[in-house]
Symmetry: none
Subunit: 531 residues, 2 copies
């Protein structure tokens, strides 16, 4: 049995079913390029003929294949009343520029009956003829056996007949799908073992969903039983509870189970970054607790753990985080703090000071601010501004000398409700004071608008800078409405650059204002450096 | 082999290691009460003697045991140079009001060496004497075998000797811990099978971490191999990648694997709500894709799926969502809504209307408000107010006809910062308008104070009503500062009663104000009913 496991990514097809996720064409193209560069074997990128977005994606593929990864078009077996040659859906697949075609078909007798309303024998014919047509058209063919595990439980002979028909008709891969996600790892292991009496493991794939939080274990169980292809998505994107998470599966396969994949060991160090970039591109918060790739995956909080980890990382780490491009995080005092600080400054391209004592000043300032409730871990831009200010007396660009925000709500005699928010600011730039007053949709929006009114004429770089994410966290919630508030704001410019800033105050408006100010200042700092 | 699996929850101890999670004493007490009512067997609630919070928790326990759940104090084996009788840490455990004591000890020779710097034989003595002292003190004893799987891989004879020493010294349970989270399900299965040559499965527990996204599968593998206790946390809280997620494990054990637990099948229907309430209490967004309990766990997006699901839910659902108190979500109208509504009203002691048609009005109003961003799941008090208003034309008690909130911040010429928040309100009570104007620590605090200035003289029942928790969530973060904001406020009165209200608006001040108004109105409603 070969030791090579093939990795099949369906982030851009099954992952698109995630509630709240909506890929643009450019998202798809950029993510596909990153996945291909990483070393995945197959990229299922959509369903040509099903929607204009997927059509555009496949039409935009280069005529000549360049990457190692095979691009896969997803579709389904032909309709009963039409030959494969005349079935528009099938023909769209075969005409596409995809290297391979993945055909989903029924293998559960119950579904053949209630969903297709055709006979069991007719369904077998659909599978055979569609697979054959695709193979004849020169495509590599995969057969996705929908509901295979439920089908096998209900009628094993028929489920086997279906997948064997696909295999004998020319499918390179028969992929066993746990479509409803209800199968458990030991069941997957037993069934995949059994199937190999009919189809070699080297031609079997596995496709799992996470409805019992076992999608990763199910995928690994199938490979241990002999299957040699895993289908999954990055970060477990997918309908309901998601698909099997490749970001967890790949390191386990390579680092713990001794399997080979198309990914070079050195390339595996890109997986943390890749996982975060995909979430970033679709504006989804990255799971900081994700296995291997999460920000907290190697963070040590308990005191006992820390001293042991410092003596020997193996004490409390199952792998070296560098192998997956992640990093140990230890929450300790000055000694470790300073080297971590230097590492972070270098990572953010902040020049180190010529006087090393300045680093102590910065460390002290960070601790003061953290005590007030600041957290710079997720606010790189505020961190850079603070560092530049302490280490090199960064010019402030502008000083907000005064703001006044008014929120008003009135119930009219007729019972209607009128709300109004307005903000007035006085801002000093190079010794001159400027004022502006605007209204807005809520107090923070009004304040943001007023600041821009003053600053845009003076700093044209701020054009096209837009706030795209706004998060509020209450830090001491048990003081009721006197709680301290931390606001994180994410901002984007016209070049697609993203940065995050933070503000803290007992007043939510003031906290928001600080984060907005930093967001604008960071853009000015970058423009200054670029100029 | 018994079919009964014991469930051990460590949300309040190991879960407290989650980065960003910070339980208050009240959080711990309330969460413990909810977990106990749910039917869990053991609740590990902290480490008496380790910090003032945990001391206060254990000191606050009732002298007489009331719930089925056993409260467990966590601690470690004694120090080498001190007898158990003289070891302050051990004695704090034994003196505590806990029913059981969980002692963590080393079983990996490497750790005995690098962390404890003692001989292997000495470590065995620590285990034996500490377990014996706890058993002699009348506590049920659990031994948490730290790093057991790594230890077993490195030196199986020694790892076995450690756990056998604990078992023979009187530990009711020997819990095998995958402390670093790197062990895979098939390895867990093999090792747990093997250990039973020495310790019966009925005395074995499993404690897994999610560093390879296999903590659930590892826990289930141990039970399949014969272990009869699972340790985990709700929502997978815990250090790094978290602990094994009980919210996923429990339904699988009960619905798919035929095991019995202390949880009645009808009680299992509370698991979705319980899971969400725990996250809510610690102001953590609930994972909408969580297995079984997530908002999207039974959401059908694909059109093909929906028609099949409507024909027969089994087509695309691995279990009936009602079994875990979750609900199918498809983008069509929901018959189940009305019966769920009646159930909830009865649970909250809201009298049902004499005209059943009023229930439709309430259902329609709830849907409208949910569309705006309201969520009543965790805001019982706002839900009751809404129901009373729609079903029975609840008197409004007071109407806030106008508010104006001013926030001002000034940088003085000397560089000092002055902030001020003030609020003015006009409130109508029984046809008379009253006004007040106050300052506060932040805009919401000022508004709250102004409302009370008007209302307290008119409604003495509002005396001693205090806001104790305040949470802000941004619902449409991708609109930047124009996002819709949902505020949840928890309030307490002098009798210790707690209630939660909700407000939604694109203006954070307005959202907060609505939640504050509801908080006060709910108190007035209760007083009226009591009077």
């Amino acid at each position: 049995m070969t030791n090579r496991v093939f990795l099949y990514d369906t982030t851009l097809r099954d992952g698109a079913q995630t509630s709240g996720v909506d890929f643009s064409l450019r998202d798809k193209q950029l993510i596909a390029a990153e996945l291909a560069a990483f070393g995945l074997d197959y990229l299922e990128c959509g369903w040509p003929g099903a929607n204009p977005l997927d059509d555009a994606f496949f039409e935009g593929l280069p005529a000549e294949k360049t990457a190692q990864a095979k691009i896969v078009a997803f579709g389904m077996t032909r309709r009963l009343d039409t030959a494969a040659e005349d079935d528009a859906q099938v023909q769209a697949l075969l005409r596409s520029r995809a290297d391979a075609v993945c055909l989903v078909g029924k293998t559960w007798d119950f579904h053949v009956d209630v969903a297709l309303h055709i006979s069991l024998a007719e369904n077998i014919k659909l599978i055979e003829s569609t697979v054959k047509a695709a193979a004849d058209a020169g495509k590599e063919v995969l057969f996705d056996a929908e509901h295979f595990f439920d089908g096998y439980a209900a009628n094993p002979a028929y489920a086997l007949e279906c997948v064997e028909a696909a295999y004998k008709s020319g499918a390179r891969w028969v992929v066993l799908c746990d479509t409803n996600g209800g199968t458990l790892p030991h069941q997957v292991f037993d069934i995949v073992t059994k199937i190999q009496e009919r189809i070699p493991g080297a031609n079997l794939g596995i496709h799992c969903h996470n409805d019992t939080e076992n999608a990763v274990a199910n995928s690994l169980a199938a490979v241990r039983a002999g299957a040699r292809q895993i289908q999954g998505t990055f970060n477990g994107l997918g309908e309901r509870c998601g698909n099997a998470n490749l970001a967890s599966i790949i390191p386990t396969l390579m680092l713990k189970m001794g399997f080979e994949t198309g990914i070079a060991p050195a390339q595996l160090q890109q997986i943390s970054l890749l996982s975060r970039r995909i979430d970033d591109r679709i504006n989804r918060p990255h799971n900081r607790h994700a296995a291997y790739v999460g920000e907290s995956a190697f963070t040590h909080k308990g005191g006992l753990h820390i001293s042991a980890v410092l003596k020997n990382p193996l004490s409390y780490e199952h792998i070296d985080p560098a192998l997956v491009g992640n990093a140990r995080k230890i929450l300790v005092s000055d000694q470790a703090g300073k080297s971590a600080l230097v590492e972070r400054l270098q990572g953010l391209n902040v020049a180190l000071p010529t006087e090393p004592a300045r680093l102590n000043d910065l460390l002290a300032r960070i601790k003061e601010l953290e005590f007030e409730g600041y957290a710079f871990e997720n606010a790189d831009a505020s961190f850079v501004l603070l560092a530049e200010q302490v280490l090199r007396a960064l010019p402030p660009f502008f000083t907000l000398k005064h703001f006044r925000v008014i929120d008003e709500k009135t119930v009219t005699p007729a019972g209607g409700i009128e709300t109004a928010s307005s903000a007035a600011v006085r801002v000093s730039v190079d010794g001159t004071d400027y004022t502006a007053e605007t209204t807005g949709n809520g107090p923070v929006n009004a304040l943001d608008a007023a600041l821009r009114d003053v600053l845009l004429p003076l700093f044209p770089a701020l054009k096209d800078v837009s706030l795209i994410d706004y998060k509020v966290r209450i830090l001491t919630p048990h003081d009721g409405t006197k709680a301290v508030t931390r606001v994180l704001i994410e901002t984007r410019d016209a070049d697609g650059r993203l940065w995050t800033t933070v503000g803290v105050s007992s007043n939510v408006i003031d906290a928001s204002c600080k984060a907005v100010e930093d967001a604008l200042r960071y853009k000015l700092l970058r423009s200054q450096k670029a100029g």
